[in-house]
Amino acid sequence: MSVRGDRLAAEDVLLFANASITATGQREFHSGEAHQRLSLGFLHDYVLGNYRDLYTATLALDINDHNAGLIIRRLLESAGEASDAQRRTEGRLIARRLESLPPQRVYRLFRELRTAGVNNRRTRAIIRDWLTTRPDPALDAVKYRNALKLALRHTHLAPPSEEVGAFLFASHRGKRFTTPLLDTWREAHYAKNRLYDLPFTVAEGFAARHGIDRGEFLERIAPRLTRLERLRLQNSARRHGAGSVPMDLERMPLTRLASYVLSLPLDDRARRRTELEEALTAAARRAAGTESGRWGRVTAVLDDSFSSSGSTAKRRRPLAVALASHYLLRALATEYIPLWTSGRADALLNYPYGVTPLGHRIIDALDTGPDRLVLVSDGWDNAPPGLAAEVLRVWRSHLDPDGRVDIVHLNPVYDAGDFEVRRLSAAVPTVGVRDAEDLPALVELAHFATGHTELSELTSYLAARTRGFLEGR
């Protein structure tokens, strides 16, 4: 490939990496769901068609589950176009990625493969291998009954055990099972008390069937809830007067926790301030790990304008990422100054409000003389428009040509029109961000995003990431 072709390839791949970190095919503040899906679908087809190896290697990056599913599906669909060596790498990467995906995503992927009529030998082997890694086949059979049934039917695989096979495919007529969970499921059809031993999503259906009061149900099912179900059901539990759905905030991942905090009314946040602050700080410290306190003087410009409210599908997601980054950067830095675009200082009581005077805030931030400047924003700079870009350009070209201050722009929103996260300026690297926890790795990736990266560098970076990913970090 020519030098220009190389550069173009590097740009395309970085663009795709950014998109696969941020885009979820859901409605965003500025564009609708259909537009997002169309744009993302095109991008996947384009990158797969032109750079199959690099497309595969993206699986080793911190991309989101939605895109991981899309990549795996497209790779399996187009298995015929791959060479033997490519297939081997692809197979290993897919298997590794499937392990880390949540099971419901994997089952959805299998269902999509079935709809698309993909049933090659490789696909069957991948599904078989994944199913053997499942720790409790009986739980999967109960919780993902239809999905598992469809997967087995599609691939003609033998069920994990004879009883699970009977559970899925045979007619029951009141026959007892020897596996306890399967038998509980049988009993829950007529015994109200038994359903509390089932997984929440299954029990919910039985509860509706038995007409059990929601509040009572939530209170009694509480011990069976998973961590994220617990977080999700907090407000519902309060509304239905179920007193005790206890939650251990300490163990929550940082960005989820930030989302939860932002879902609370301001009064609640003010009342539980110490508890929430502590949980966020602890989560941030965990995410920072060994990097803690090693970033020097950091100033952050964090976007809490109205557009950070996200959409009905992603409520306040951009603001949650900014809030999580705020706590993480505080843990990473030795000296930390946060600047919110609205000018407010109390991070915990933040809500999306007003315009985005990003340019003015960046000037303020540079005035604090930091070693590192981190911008977290969706890139829609409107008060006045284009000032941020000009400030960054002039700063880089005239005021700080040696790059004394390390500036990175993190963008949590995929812009469907540009097939990219929206950039602020060519002078400053922009990377997509999904979870604030990935921030240190993303800042590393950002060094490739300055616009003059060689393809060879990028390929070796991706190869290293792939090796690390396959060896299981």
Binding site: P384, A389, R393
Partner: protein, 376 residues
């Protein structure tokens, strides 16, 4: 005849989406003793009765103005929404366009006040019974007179632009440009009122011209451009950024909004409320220029506290213009034609194409047509 006094309001940086440019108007000192809020009607059609005539129109919402006589801040929005909602599917009969609800409260229908002013322009018809005018024109005047407008949701791209618009903390108004033509101006006394009434902009009326312009290609943002050669430090950077904003404001006030602000208007006072005055205004009807009708609430010094305008389409301007010229010449066709510098036949045909053909006697109009055919 005076212009609009928008002192106290400054234009903020514009936000663009597609062909729609929204320019916020910021108020450093909000007006504390007048508050506006929306009163929603469930019924889509409203009939306003005044005298023997009735006025039927689409009424999405009314505004309620609250003021306090002694200058103390008025209570916030929302607490006084006391009027009972009418049942669904029933026609709603607000008695008049402006109605006092209480000693310190007034309900009025936004833009209807202004369009009523326009529709009733020389509503009585010919004042002297020249023989060219039809019997109907002499008996009924211009009645029935109807004009078309589009709802905001029908203007391509406007609902989206309003949805993603980020409201400034001290914003009290907005100027809406479609394909860089000023479509409407909306000013309120207090930022809190604006925040609440911002969504009502999609329910407002917009002229045919604006609806047509909304299918034009997207407009560009006026992005900041800094001259790096003059910048030596961060302070310079700050200074230049401020200068750029100043430049934009000047450009906006003189060029973009010039059509609205430089014009002089005919005013008609509708209601006095404490130190505030509710009035409506009509433009001078100059063809091929911006012509806005509108309504305002002004304070004792004549400064605009509330403003809502509607941009007339070109044929609406032409109608207003012809009516004014006819009225100036006491509805005499020959005199009017002389003043316009055209022949009587041409004037007759112009009246016909402006939609006033029914005012002329049939045989007279046919005569004009025949002569125009003979002498091309």
């Amino acid at each position: 005849m005076t212009g609009l006094d928008l002192s106290g309001l400054t234009a903020g940086p514009a936000q663009v989406r597609g062909g729609v440019r929204l320019v916020p108007l910021l108020r450093a000192h909000p007006v504390p003793d007048l508050r506006l809020h929306a009163e929603l009607y469930d019924a889509e059609l409203g009939v306003v009765e005044f005298g023997r005539h009735s006025y039927t129109s689409y009424i999405p919402h009314g505004f309620v103005a609250d003021w306090s006589g002694d200058g103390t801040p008025a209570a916030a929005y929302g607490t006084q929404l006391t009027t009972d909602r009418p049942d669904r599917m029933r026609l709603h009969f607000p008695h008049r366009m402006v109605r006092r609800l209480d000693r310190n409260r007034l309900r009025f229908l936004p833009l209807h006040l202004a369009s009523e002013g326009y529709l009733s322009l020389h509503f009585g018809g010919p004042v002297i019974a020249w023989e060219e005018w039809s019997r109907r024109a002499l008996r009924n005047g211009l009645s029935p007179r109807a004009e078309q407008a589009y709802r905001g949701v029908e203007v391509n791209g406007l609902p989206d632009a309003l949805r993603v618009f980020e409201i400034h903390p001290d914003q009290c108004g907005v100027l809406i440009y479609v394909a860089d033509a000023l479509a409407a101006a909306f000013v309120l006394p207090h930022p809190d009122d604006y925040r609440v009434l911002h969504p009502s902009l999609v329910q407002d009326l917009y002229g045919e011209l604006i609806h047509h312009y909304s299918f034009h290609p997207p407009v560009d943002e006026f992005r900041v451009q800094l001259r790096e050669s003059a910048i030596r430090s961060l302070d310079d950077l700050r200074l230049h950024a401020a200068q750029q904003e100043q430049t934009w404001r000047h450009f906006h006030d003189t060029t973009l909004a010039g059509g609205l602000l430089d014009s002089t208007y005919m005013w008609e006072r509708v209601y006095r409320m404490g130190r505030f005055t509710l009035s409506r205004f009509l433009p001078p009807f100059r063809p091929k220029q911006d012509n806005h009708i509108g309504e305002t609430i002004t304070d004792a010094k004549g400064r605009v506290v509330y403003l809502k305008t509607f941009r007339l389409a070109e044929n609406q301007v032409r109608r207003g213009y012809l009516l004014n010229r006819l009225a100036d010449a006491d509805w005499h066709l020959g005199d009017t034609a002389d003043q316009l510098g055209i022949t009587e036949d041409q004037l007759g045909l112009r009246l016909n194409s402006a939609g006033f053909g029914h005012l002329l006697r049939r045989d007279v109009l046919d005569g004009y047509r025949a002569r125009a055919r003979r002498s091309p």
